[in-house]
Symmetry: C2
Subunit: 453 residues, 2 copies
């Protein structure tokens, strides 16, 4: 009976597949109909990505790996099928709409993560986060500098400094996702990492301005470098944003939702919550911070207590309302991130050594973060591991370096750029399994200790 059923399933799936191909076969003459265009491209991309995300997530969860790693790996496979002559998925990489949907996905993810914390809870770990962020910037910076000096001895000191700077900024999306999937957002470790990521982003901004400023100044023959006033302005803007978002935000939000409550029509509650998220993401982006930092801040300042009236009216909780949007959008970010991994880079043997050492420096450097943890109850190792991922920020740094010209050639050469890309890929791929392992090991330890006591 069971077998019969599976056979019937198979037959029906074959029919469905034939049917789908019947649709595809008409693709060439579909233009005449008048509908279609960019919507059709995004529909097929969403179909492929959602399917890859769910199948990848399923397989990796069966092997006790985080679902996000499955999304990354399946994305990587799809993104590299062109090596085998399958070019169908190539346009996915260049579709701006898909890129924007992916970015909205990670914004929604950080908003969700922020919602699970409060400003008060973050304040408690504030100093620790600050120390973690500082160590997590200083150590990789000098390690990167050293690696640069070792592999590129002929280059000037400014090139080495730039490579160091490229290794500093943590990309918190991956870590946030792993913490969320494991239900660990409420832990002290998670709060320290998230707080440090916010501070890290601000520090990254400052470092970029300083290093790029110095190189531009050196290049133009002015010995002065970047003015300390300009650096102060950057710090001021970033700090003002975070403090402003939290202080003014916390004050305004209750009145804001009281006003929203008076509005008629459907979906007011969710829309007004999304508005806070989008507004703070937007402002963060405007002043040069990552939009996800704004989304996280938005999540922090929204508390259940603001929603009491909506909840009394019988509306769903904000978590229940955001979750479906996250289910739709978040995998787009991770599958797309996987797709952008170009495996051909790994074939460039001449840079593999440089890339390997840079990756080791990037990973080892962030382990210095654990030195900021004095508290024995906190899982130090998880914090060091959670800070590993370098994402788009590292790539942006390298991209800017590739455009900066020093002594007639770019500060970041094409082979250095490739090495940075490899470093970003590996730090992204190793974090989920390492972090999961460390968090679950600690959990087991505590259980054993509890059983003994």
């Amino acid at each position: 009976m069971r077998i019969l059923n599976q056979r019937r399933t198979l037959i029906l799936f074959v029919i469905a597949a034939v049917y789908a191909f019947y649709g595809l076969a008409f693709a060439s003459d579909g233009d005449g109909g008048g509908h279609g265009g960019p919507v059709l491209s995004i529909l097929i991309e969403l179909i492929v990505i959602l399917l890859a995300a769910k199948l990848g997530g399923d397989i990796f969860e069966r092997f006790s790996q985080p679902a996000v790693l499955g999304e990354l790996v399946f994305g990587m496979i799809i993104g590299n099928l062109h090596m085998f002559g399958i070019d169908f998925f190539e346009p996915f990489k260049h579709n701006i709409t898909l890129e924007v949907l992916a970015e909205l996905g990670v914004i929604i993810l950080l908003f969700e993560v922020g919602l699970e914390s409060s400003v008060k809870e973050m304040m408690k770990v504030g100093l620790t986060s600050f120390m973690v962020a500082i160590l997590g910037v200083v150590a990789p910076f000098f390690l990167g500098w050293g690696v640069g000096a070792w592999f590129l001895p002929a280059e000037s000191i400014y090139v080495h400094i730039f490579i160091g700077a490229t290794l500093t900024a943590t990309s918190v999306g991956i870590t946030a996702r792993v913490l969320k999937d494991l239900g660990k957002i409420q832990t002290r470790e998670a709060k320290i990492i998230l707080g440090a990521a916010v501070i890290d982003d601000i520090l990254g901004l400052v470092i970029l301005a300083v290093v790029a400023g110095i190189i531009t100044a050196v290049n133009s023959g002015i010995g002065d470098g970047i003015s300390s006033g300009a650096v102060l302005l950057i710090i001021l803007k970033a700090v003002l944003f975070m403090v402003g978002a939290i202080v003014i935000g916390s004050m305004v939000v209750p009145y804001y939702f009281r006003m929203a409550f008076r509005l008629r029509g459907k979906g007011v509650f969710l829309s007004f919550a999304l508005l806070v998220c989008f507004l703070l993401s937007y402002i963060a982006g405007l002043i040069g911070l990552a939009p996800i930092i704004g989304a996280f801040a938005a999540g922090l300042i929204l508390e259940e207590v603001h929603f009491t009236k909506f909840r009394e009216r019988g509306e769903h909780s904000i978590h229940e309302l955001i979750a479906p949007i996250a289910i739709f959008l978040v995998p787009i970010f991770f599958v797309r991130m996987g797709m952008l991994v170009d495996l051909a880079t790994f074939a460039r043997v001449e840079i593999l050594g440089f890339a390997a050492v840079m990756t080791i420096a990037a990973i080892a450097g962030k382990q210095a973060c654990s030195l900021a943890i004095f508290d024995r109850a906190t899982n130090r190792m998880a914090i060091g591991l959670g800070m590993i991922p370098r994402g788009e920020v590292g790539l942006i740094f390298a991209g800017i370096g590739a455009k900066l010209i020093l002594d007639g050639h770019p500060v970041v050469s094409s082979s250095t750029y490739s090495a940075v890309v490899i470093m970003v890929m590996i730090t992204t791929l190793v974090t989920p399994p390492f972090l999961k392992w460390s968090l679950l090991r600690e959990e087991k330890k505590k259980e054993i200790a509890a059983a003994k006591a």
Copy 2:
């Protein structure tokens, strides 16, 4: 106390506004930070649109008008502020990502609407829907032909036929939204209209192919026009799609969700429901139908009974999962549709007469639909009113006509095109209040009759 509170609210809002502008003020030097780009554009556009949708919806609901009309009108205001020198919102109209999000919004809307019906229920009204669709195509076609002949006597008969064809296709988004907002999707009237819209879309495709084929043939000197084989192929593809989607879909779906149920990871249920929606939308688009027709078919074939296992596991219902995505995306479609209304068109006095008569023909023509209703219990008038809106299909027709050359000048001249645009605007704007009035009047009538009996 109350006043004090409101004053405090006001002060806090001023602070928030200043803060927001502080952000905006940094916009010019935000480039250096490295983040941003297309994501920031979409964020500000989403902020404006969500706010306009909720405020517009609120105000119109207070005046007992459908929320969707508020979204359209507020969109229209935003889209025409450039007349007063405010150019800030102009880029919104040309952002492809926003266009795609809007299209995804209307796809999700029709999927939601389809979920509230079943194939069986649609079959019951099948014949009536077919008659409604036929009358709703034939009457406006000949009325439009007449209007063309009257206003453009110097033009050839083919131009008049083309104008008639432009008036045929119903755009069901607006009507579906009004029916949904009033909780009337389950009514017989709603099912007839939705069924007719599906058939209408197929007929529109056929008419377009025939008329454009004839003109191309006349133009190239071949008297033969379009071959009946080509027309048959179009009909075959469309009918095969609908029958295939419903028959094969209904067979495959139970096995599909049984397979999905075995997958690990979060969000499998919603993702696999969305996959059905996106896949059928995509195939519909490929064969030249509106993607929303595919989305509607997807909603039709998904039934609660397929989800029993997921529901037993404690997952939310499909309606609860889709609703937040709809709250986020659907208003984008309607506000954007309002934004694209160019009020300057109405200032072209020389075409206003033509546009007015064409609009009357478009509205009056669809009232013929009510002749297909023999059943006294059905609200005939609501069906005629629900079929009024002409949307993107009319514009696509006109756009194709503008590109077709006959006797050395385009079949659809720029003034005819403007008249079509005005017709589309007015039919879109008048439908929500008319339809709401008719549906609620009938409801009251029935209540009074019930009270008397």
